[in-house]
């Protein structure tokens, strides 16, 4: 348990008393202290929710800022009532608190489900139902089939005769295989009266050494998702904009305060007789007055940063993400699931991805293995339909074999027996195994006549070609591990022969077998690897009785060791697996995912660089890359692997240095400038784990930075990069390196297994594939999709649209508040800088909440400036929004100028009109609130119509909210001005709006100023037309031919990997 890991750091082993029976009397009994079995992932309790949540919320700079503004309004005599900023703030805080409270309640519920889970505890010979949280260390539990373990357990007894149980750890490490666990040997049959103590290691954080409860990792995963991760580009712009706005406010407030005091210094202006100061005002210090004035101006202009902007952005992200989970194109009928959105904060990042890091197995490929062929003693065997030859075992000639040959029957059978015995497959309604390769091999052997029947009490049964059952006693399994990259079994046949069968990667087997055997096989293995198959070599070894005894005792000793168990085991394994005889090799195909090649091609067309990070060997990975069109025929491959580093007479470090320089020269220095990239050579870069760690960890004397930089520059100038033999942490290292490189590009990681979790967490956007390797990646991802092919629509469709939408949203918000506050600012020059609001408080408050928020929200949810189909067809469209194109200086300047222009038009247009305030035909004059209302009406109509001009995709919702907002504004104004509100101290707007509408001049000025404001916009829209979306589409379509042609030329290669026929016919 995680908590116990934290709490018990004392060294050495600890003692647990099974069943809480007292220890023998001669020992001193120290009651051990262990923590309970409760799991707490929730953040709040009922009591601390309010203070803790409020504290958390006000730690956000924005909320804190609004709180300060609110407090200033309460304390200082400011132009607007505290309600104007208090109400929205209260609303935001409440909504957030409710949301977080609800999420925490869900967490409480999930915790309770686990903590209150009923478990059966054996206590004093009786079965007692207990809640999981009440389990104490030392309890004896009974766990039934398909239950999850409520805590760490030691297997004392099993219902199976052989004292084993099968455990799946899918929720821990993503491995869906069934692992066998054995009961502690020599325990009495009667557990109820068992009296024992357990000496065990202190808890360790390493998952693979101790088996934790399911919830351990689940908890971590959930926690990850509750962290607030925010889109980088938007947030950067967001904060940038807010800082700019903040500076605007500050400077405006400063200008106004200065002006006010300069203006007041003129005689008679400070305190005209008609506006005498109160006694209190006269007495206060001049500087304090200045400060108060400054704060008042701040409050007046603070509306430029509305609280509602945060709300709208959050809403857009939250609601917008539903379109991903609703998309039926992401629905996979096989797993009956669609896409999953774990965080909605990153929607727009999907439109900014520059680097995609993808896992190979299970992501690019299906992880659905199929036995393709094998090679025995250098002879190639391919499976063909059973009808072709009687024994279903046909021989075809490999390219190098001129004469059709078959290996000896004895060798054939030895090979097949090896396939049948050397694995950890279990038979349980079909085969169950830790890796799909093993199943494919066992099934392959089955097709050739050797069927594995199962393992029963340490005896493996095989049905051979003559339908006899062969029995082998399983003595030891030398488990697979990624360092050795091989596994072995030691079995004893009926005849008493002790055999060791070993299978593993060629690189790990070849050095351990007789060299003369290697050459025959190597060619096959390499050819298979280039064809995109996964190859394994099979070897065997006879063990004499003495040898076996030695091995047996060595293994037992190592297994029982308390310290350095792994190292000791490894030493024994390595000692045994030497001097073997190579029998043959197998080739298993890992099929490409549906539309993997098309997806990769689309990503590359979109200007995204795809890096494949895999733990697989180079040849296999390379062939997958070819199959996925990541490497093309004309791609020049640059290799930086252990193989290329080996050069006679040179240190590897020097060779690395040379190669790096050479590649750098090729890709970076000699590359034509970016503009003429049409004819530039495509480079593919291959690096392996060992070399990568050399590059990254090169000692400081070799100017470490140089290597890293060189490496990064080479990588960035290659169209595709393949990193093979990667450890999970190395994957994350690579992602981190790119993420932190110059220009900090947006990175995306996609993977399906537990080994991809580190890189999924490291990248800006993590995508999990709901594949076969458990749910680990999905839980830790930001988005989860059922298949790789969905990535295309996720990025090119949804990502593109989200980016455009939110970029427009943020800028529009900035613009509409600029032209909202600018007249307010200008009015200060005409009211003696007295902080007189131009608009009524209701308008100030409602502007961003009601009048102008819904159209932009609808826009930011439904806008499709280019249809999704078009986006998917033309991947190059994605490049146009790359590098944050819509939030850079150009567009920002445009929006600023537009906002300033509109603000000036609104204010001065009405100012000219008010040179004669008698605007009604009965000669009556309009006052200041009429002035503000006219400006405000023009403002609301203009910003809404400006959005209407920007909208290119008018659904009924857009119509509804745009026209509805305007109608609501008119309706509200009538209503607000039509009633004497008892709660208002001043009835400022009473009938102002209605009177305004009774004036023809007011109507005329509203119309002409709206048109004047929108005129440049209309002109822009019209003149932009030739370069507009349609022309763009035409342009793209004409260039699409250029994209498609290489695809058609690549057909043969694709056919080879996609169709079954071409695999059987050589």
């Amino acid at each position: 348990l995680s908590s116990s890991i934290e709490n018990h750091r004392t060294l050495g082993s600890r003692t647990i008393y099974v069943g809480h029976r007292p220890c023998p009397a001669n020992e001193v009994f120290i009651p051990p202290k262990f923590c309970d079995n409760r799991i707490v992932s929730s953040k709040y309790t009922v009591w601390n929710f309010l203070p803790k949540n409020l504290f958390e919320q006000f730690r956000r700079i924005a909320n804190f800022y609004f709180l300060i503004i609110f407090l200033v309004q309460v304390i200082v005599d400011t132009p607007t009532s505290p309600v104007t900023s208090g109400l929205p703030l209260f609303f935001v805080i409440t909504v957030t608190a409710i949301k977080q409270g609800y999420e925490d309640w869900l967490r409480h519920k999930a915790d309770n489900e686990v903590n209150k889970y009923r478990v059966t505890v054996l206590e004093d010979g009786r079965r007692i139902q207990k809640e999981s949280e009440k389990i104490k260390v030392g309890d004896v539990l009974e766990v039934e089939e398909d239950e999850t373990f409520p805590c760490d357990l030691i297997l004392l007894q099993s219902s199976r005769d052989d004292g084993t149980c099968f455990v799946t750890t899918a929720s821990l490490d993503g491995e869906s295989n069934h692992k066998t666990h054995y009961t502690v040997p020599d325990t009495e049959r009667d557990v109820e009266s068992l009296n024992a103590t357990i000496e065990c290691e202190q808890p360790q954080p390493d998952l693979y050494k101790s088996l934790g409860p399911e919830n351990l990792l689940l908890k971590g995963a959930t926690l990850k998702n509750t962290q607030s991760i925010c889109g980088k580009s938007i947030i950067a712009f967001f904060t940038g904009t807010i800082l700019k706005m903040g500076k605007t406010i500050l400077s405006k407030a400063l200008v106004c305060t200065t002006l006010k005091y300069v203006w007041q210094s003129k005689p008679g202006q400070d305190e005209p007789w008609y506006n005498e100061k109160t006694l209190k005002e006269k007495e206060t210090n001049l500087y304090l007055n200045m400060f108060t004035d400054f704060l008042s101006f701040m409050v007046l202009f603070n509306f430029i940063i509305p609280v509602s902007m945060y709300v709208t952005v959050e809403m857009q992200k939250f609601l917008g993400s539903f379109f991903i989970s609703w998309d039926k194109d992401f629905f996979d009928s096989e797993i009956e699931e669609g896409a999953l959105v774990n965080t909605s904060d990153l929607n727009e990042e999907l439109g900014q991805v520059e680097y995609v890091f993808t896992d190979k197995t299970g992501t690019l490929t299906q992880n659905n293995m199929e036995f393709i062929e094998c090679c025995i003693d250098g002879h190639q065997y391919k499976y063909r339909d059973a009808s072709s030859e009687v024994d279903g075992f046909c021989v075809t000639d490999g390219p190098m074999n001129t004469v059709q040959q078959k290996a000896g029957r004895e060798r054939e059978e030895l090979f097949l027996r090896a396939l049948c015995l050397c694995h950890t497959v279990q038979v349980k309604e079909g085969f169950i195994a830790s890796s799909p390769d093993e199943i494919a091999l066992v099934q392959g052997a089955m097709r050739y006549g050797f069927t594995f029947l199962g393992l029963e009490s340490k005896t493996m049964k095989i049905l051979n070609r003559t339908n006899d059952v062969e029995m082998y006693e399983l003595l030891h399994v030398l488990n697979f591990d990624p360092v050795r990259r091989r596994m072995s079994v030691i079995v004893r046949s009926i005849s008493g022969e002790t055999l060791l069968f070993c299978k593993g990667a060629d690189s790990s087997i070849f050095p351990r077998v007789k060299q003369e055997e290697v050459e025959k096989i190597r060619m096959h293995v390499e050819r298979n690897a280039t064809d995109g198959y996964r190859t394994l070599c099979v070897a065997y070894k006879h063990l004499t009785a003495e040898e076996y005894d030695q091995v047996d005792s060595g293994l037992r000793e190592a297994r029982l060791a308390l310290q350095d168990r792994e190292e000791k085991l490894m030493a024994v394994y390595n000692q045994v697996e030497t001097g073997m005889n190579l029998i043959g090799a197998t080739a298993v195909e890992d099929r490409l995912q549906e539309e993997a090649a098309e997806t990769m091609e689309a990503l590359q067309g979109a200007g995204i660089k795809v890096w494949v990070l895999t733990g697989d060997k180079m040849e296999t990975a390379k062939s997958t890359c070819y199959a996925c069109r990541l490497f093309k025929r004309n791609t020049e491959l640059l290799e930086l692997t252990v193989r290329t580093l080996e050069s006679p007479g040179k240190r590897r470090e020097d060779r690395l240095h040379d190669l790096l320089l050479e590649y750098h020269k090729k890709t970076v220095q000699d590359a034509p400038p970016a503009k003429t990239r049409v004819a530039s050579q495509d480079y593919g870069f291959i690096v392996d784990g060992a070399t990568l760690s050399m590059v990254l960890n090169s000692s400081s004397e070799n100017n470490l930075h140089d290597y890293k930089d060189l490496f990064l520059q080479i990588c960035q100038n290659c169209t595709s990069v393949l990193c093979c033999r990667m450890a999970p942490l190395q994957k994350a290292q690579i992602v981190k390196m790119v993420k932190n490189s110059k220009g900090s590009p947006i990175t995306l990681s996609i993977g399906d297994g537990a080994n991809d979790v580190s890189m999924i967490l490291e990248a800006h956007v993590g995508i999990g594939i709901k594949g076969k390797e458990g749910r680990q990646a999905v839980r830790n991802s930001d988005y989860a999709i059922p298949k790789l092919k969905h990535l295309k629509k996720l990025l090119l469709g949804h990502g593109h649209l989200y980016y455009v939408r939110i970029a427009h949203l943020v800028q529009y918000f900035f613009y509409k508040n600029l032209c909202f506050i600018l007249p307010q600012f200008l009015y200060q020059f005409f009211c003696g800088c007295s902080q007189q609001p131009l608009y009524d408080a209701a308008y100030l408050t409602m502007y961003n909440i009601c009048f102008t928020s819904m159209p932009i929200l609808a826009y930011s949810l439904f806008e499709q400036h280019i249809s999704i189909e078009m986006l998917l067809e033309n991947a190059t469209l994605y490049r146009q929004i790359g590098k944050n194109a819509m939030l850079r200086w150009g567009p920002f300047l445009y929006w600023t100028l537009l906002g300033v222009f509109h603000g000036l038009v609104f204010f001065f247009g009405v100012w000219f009109l008010f040179s004669n305030p008698a605007l009604q035909d009965n000669g009556q004059a309009f006052g200041n609130w009429s002035y503000g209302t006219i400006v405000f009406t023009i403002l609301v109509f203009t910003v809404t119509l400006k959005l209407a001009l920007d909208t290119r995709h008018w659904t009924w919702i857009n119509h509804f909210v745009i026209w509805g907002s305007l109608a609501f504004y008119v309706f509200f104004s009538f209503f607000w001005g039509g009633v004497i509100w008892p709660f208002l101290r001043q009835q400022r707007l009473y009938f102002v709006f209605a009177n305004m509408l009774s004036s023809v001049s007011a109507w005329l000025v509203i119309i002409v100023l709206i048109l004047l404001s929108l005129l440049p916009e209309i002109l822009y829209v019209v003149l932009r037309k030739p370069r507009g979306p349609y022309a763009r589409q035409k342009l793209v379509q004409s260039s699409a031919g250029g994209i498609q042609s290489p695809r058609s030329s690549a057909r043969p290669l694709l056919m080879r990997t996609f169709s079954d026929e071409s695999n059987t016919v050589s």
Partner: protein, 340 residues
Amino acid sequence: MVKQESESANRPDNTAFTQQRLPAWQPILSAGIVIPGFVLIGLAFIGIGVALFVTSRSIQVLELDYTGDSNGSPCSSCSQSVVTNCKCSLNFTLTTLFQGPVFFYYGLSNYFQNYRRYGASKDDNQLYGDLSYFTSPSSSCSPYDYDSSKKPIVPCGSIANSMFNDTFTLTWTVNGTTNNVPLDGKGIAWWTDYNIKYRNPSVTPLKNAFNGTVKPINWAKPAYELDASDPSNNGFVNQDFLVWMRRAALPNFRKLYRRIDASGDYQKGLPAGNYTIDIAYNYPVRAFNGAKKIVFSNVSWMGGRNEFLGIAYLVIGSLCVVMSIVMLIVYAKFKFPDEE
């Protein structure tokens, strides 16, 4: 890979909304729409502009400054001194008929009715006739909430206290006879202000409601005696008071004082002749470099004279026409690329 038709619970709804396939109108501003549209709008605007301009030009306006800051002007003596009840008179001559209905405005310059503190310095509840606010006016009225003897001021606040108190009488001299031009003070304030927003307490006589209160410091008469001639024009619903209470938007403003009563000789407006305005000069403006003026104006459907609107319409209308011509040229050059 057998595709099951059975509806899975996880299957997303296949609706136009969830799939972002709502039927949408994609407006295209093509030249075929924009150019005629611009021409039409432009012509319409030019039309309106011409109408506005002509109307505005036809509105007669007569402005007379009577601040008296220059020595030669009639009211200079009043402006210099602190004499109360100073009287002065202005003369002017109309050679032609001043078309009616004629409105009589007073105008102030450099007078900031839009000061924030000034604007807040009133008590709407008091002005709504709520007697409880007579005895305890809102603190926003400070320093005009209580007088020096701690008696509440009604109506309280700076706005009421600074109410414009110059009065004017207009006489027409024709053929040696001097006639008083009848001035109508009804309906110069907003109807809603007079009838709803401002109310006198329902106490008769009105004077009793003001017991225990004092008149604003600068006022000569208490609120209930503002108009001796018309009892319904007193208290808070006095038309001049209402006009003053509606704060001007800008520091240079005019407010309606009276209308020329269109009766007798004045049915068609002010006939030609010599006129004299007798001014009771009470309102000091020199202290803050202000100015006072009298404005006679008639109005049209667009209100008072305002050339800005007409010019704006003409400019923007012609801009539209010019733009449509430019667009026509541009599109002709590119052979209407989207009309194919």
